[in-house]
Amino acid sequence: MSTNAVAARPEAPPEANLKKQLKRADRLRKFKAIGLVAPLALFLIVVFVLPIGSMLWRSVDNTELESVMPRTVAGLQQWDGSGLPEEATLAAFAAELRDSRRGGGLGKVGRRLNYEDNQYRGLLMRTLRGLPASSENWTQTLVEIDPAWGETTTWREIQRASPPVTDRYVLASLDLERGANGEIQRIDAQDRIYQSVFQRTMVIAGGVTLICLALGFPLAYLLATLPPKTSNMLMILVLLPFWTSLLVRTAAWIILLQSNGLVNQSLIASGIIDTPLQLVFNRIGVFFAMVHILLPFMILPLYSVMKGISPSYQRAAVSLGAHPFAAFWQVYAPQTISGVAAGTILVFIMALGYYITPALVGGPADQMVSYYVAYYTNTTNNWGMAAALGSILLALTLLLYLVYHRLVNRKQLIRS
């Protein structure tokens, strides 16, 4: 190498120049590429990665108490959890409670402590009203205002709510909680709900995906094999629902499927049934509406893949003596795998996050995770729970996606 370099030296200037130019051109191209991608990357980071990251962080964030009552929290960390905390801690608590009314701190603390026990908002309110400007003995004063301050458990609960991170929301999203001694245990049977909600979400999303595939595959096949004139017409019909609002389509299903709706009336008129069937406000209604709304997302990727498959392969298989079904199943179907993969994953992931459709056409047993996320975000302002439910759904989705990706890839390998 070095001899080469030495030998090349006399002619070095032009070649080095060329190299340099090449490098510069290369660098310029790279910069251009980065420059072209930068706005999108920046956009994604600002509106996607950062907000989602901060939202995920909220599922373990527990800084409410620390930010409003830093001295109380510090004092409680020293406390061994027996009897009552020291007088100094209680004095700090009284002072910080008085200050918390300004700037919304009281609301934060009250909301957070109410998760431990429903009594705290009222207790803090009563205490604040009766709080004197100064006191010789804060322990005594607080207990006089409300005897709850004289109980060890009151302070133990505040102590438990003070560390800067917590697993309570994540545990609660799995129907778990920490017991009195910090061990993880299941919550009361009557309150357990989220495990079944996650299961239900998966079942509904999976069911909708399978139905969409079963309905969409033949239609996409038809579209791909018909002459362009007819297939374009049909394609417009497939796309037509996209031009109507989701809410309108959902409401239309309610009108069609309700007890006195078109479907029930025509079934009764034709003598098939005597009493109206319950078709809406249950799982059936959810499947009807969701399949209808998501079907185009299955058909489009399938169609685009099928359009590219030459019919000669199947013809060749038949001419070589294969049964038409075998020719379809062994020769044609494997070529559509990428379309099936794209369609199913698209429909499944969109179905996972469905909120308004199940809320309107489902019953209480058909609500998916997003319903509860919306409830905690909008109604009770418990963003910790909303974030925890969202994070678990995200993790489950990623996990399923990985498994699915593996399966599809392996299948493709075997077939080809």
Partner: protein, 353 residues
């Protein structure tokens, strides 16, 4: 570096100056005009006719109306930055209670308001003065039932009143109605619900009716279901039923055992126009003005005398008509703010089983 510093000082100075300017402008503007924020829409129009216009005419105080969607966060931001440009805000009760707890509103000085104790009881709150009442009632389809139900006990009686029932999908309203149906007197409902046994009792009562219930989610659903024949009776917001009645449907309301809630006026903490705000609240609480509001939109006036100034048919539809108020219960907002999350979770777990 030096240049940088200089720039920074200059920048800071100009920011400070412009800040002072805007603060000064805001102060001079707000010293004159009272900013009143409502939910807008049909209710806002009714307020404009009944309160805003006549108030300006009578007092000569300038008034800037505005509307919002009930977000407590906007008020929180104003109070926290000390830049309070809203004086008086219409609040729904849960937000009013939460905001009061966080110190976002001025506590109401009832002496200064000079209304005495003439308003209905739940119009008095620590940080809010009630302004109108809406109600959740038992409504039924008079064509579909042979006999008229008169209470929540009848609602639970599927033998004499066969047919599907509608209830709101959620613990709020539903648990109160269940306890009423189980014979708990109105005044004890929330005391019972605060105990574990009381909650068990409410859910046990709901168990009896579970298979006959169709759960509604949106306020438009109950009247629609009644009209379509999906349910024979249901809980519903009274305004929605009134609208359906006007369209000629034979729907009836049982006021006994209805749950009512109020929207409140609250004065934003740090407002420069507290005096004017009190004047406005007092003006808007006068019976003649309340009557004008309620004739524009079917929300009940909080002043009992206002009812007498409405025509008979309108008055009968108001949640605050003396006859309607008799067996009614005010929603305990504080209870739902404290216990809501826990009870909703239990409700959802129960409803799924």
């Amino acid at each position: 570096m030096k240049k940088n510093n200089l720039m920074r000082t200059r920048l800071a100075r100009s920011v400070a100056v412009s800040g002072l300017l805007t603060a000064g402008l805001a102060a001079s503007a707000s010293a004159q005009a009272l900013t009143v924020i409502s939910f807008g829409g049909a209710s806002g129009d009714a307020m404009n006719t009944a309160y805003y216009g006549p108030f300006v005419e009578e007092t000569g105080i300038e008034l800037t109306p505005g509307d919002y969607n009930g977000e407590l966060s906007r008020i929180r931001a104003m109070v926290e930055t000390g830049n309070v440009s809203w004086d008086l805000v219409e609040m729904e009760s849960p937000e009013m209670v939460r905001g009061c707890f966080e110190g976002l509103f001025e506590p109401i000085d009832w002496q200064r308001l000079g209304l005495g104790d003439v308003l209905i009881d739940s119009a008095f709150d620590e940080c809010g003065v009630g302004t109108f009442v809406w109600s959740t009632v038992l409504a039924y389809d008079a064509d579909a039932l042979d006999a008229a139900p008169t209470s929540w006990e009848d609602f639970w009686n599927v033998e004499d009143f066969p047919g599907t029932r509608g209830l709101r999908r959620g613990a709020k309203y539903t648990l109160e109605f269940a306890l009423m149906a189980d014979g708990v007197p109105n005044e004890d409902v929330y005391d019972v619900l605060m105990t574990e046994e009381g909650v068990d009792r409410a859910f046990a009562k709901l168990d009896e009716l579970k298979e006959h219930i169709q759960w509604w989610e949106a306020g438009a659903q109950p009247p629609q279901w009644l009209v379509a024949g999906d349910v024979v009776m249901t809980s519903s917001y009274n305004g929605r039923i009134a609208a359906a009645q006007e369209e000629g449907n034979n729907l009836e309301i049982v006021w006994d055992g209805s749950l009512y809630d109020l929207d409140y006026w609250a004065i934003v903490s740090g407002s420069d126009n507290v005096d004017e705000a009190y004047q406005f609240i007092e003006f808007a609480s006068q019976p003649e003005n309340q009557a004008v509001y309620s004739s524009e939109i079917p929300y009940g006036p909080v002043h009992p005398d206002a009812i007498d100034q409405l025509d008979e048919e309108q008055a009968r539809r108001m949640p605050t008509h003396a006859d309607n108020l008799e067996g009614a219960l005010a929603i305990n907002t504080g209870f739902w703010v404290d216990y809501g999350e826990q009870l909703e979770q239990r409700f959802n777990a129960w409803a799924t089983r």
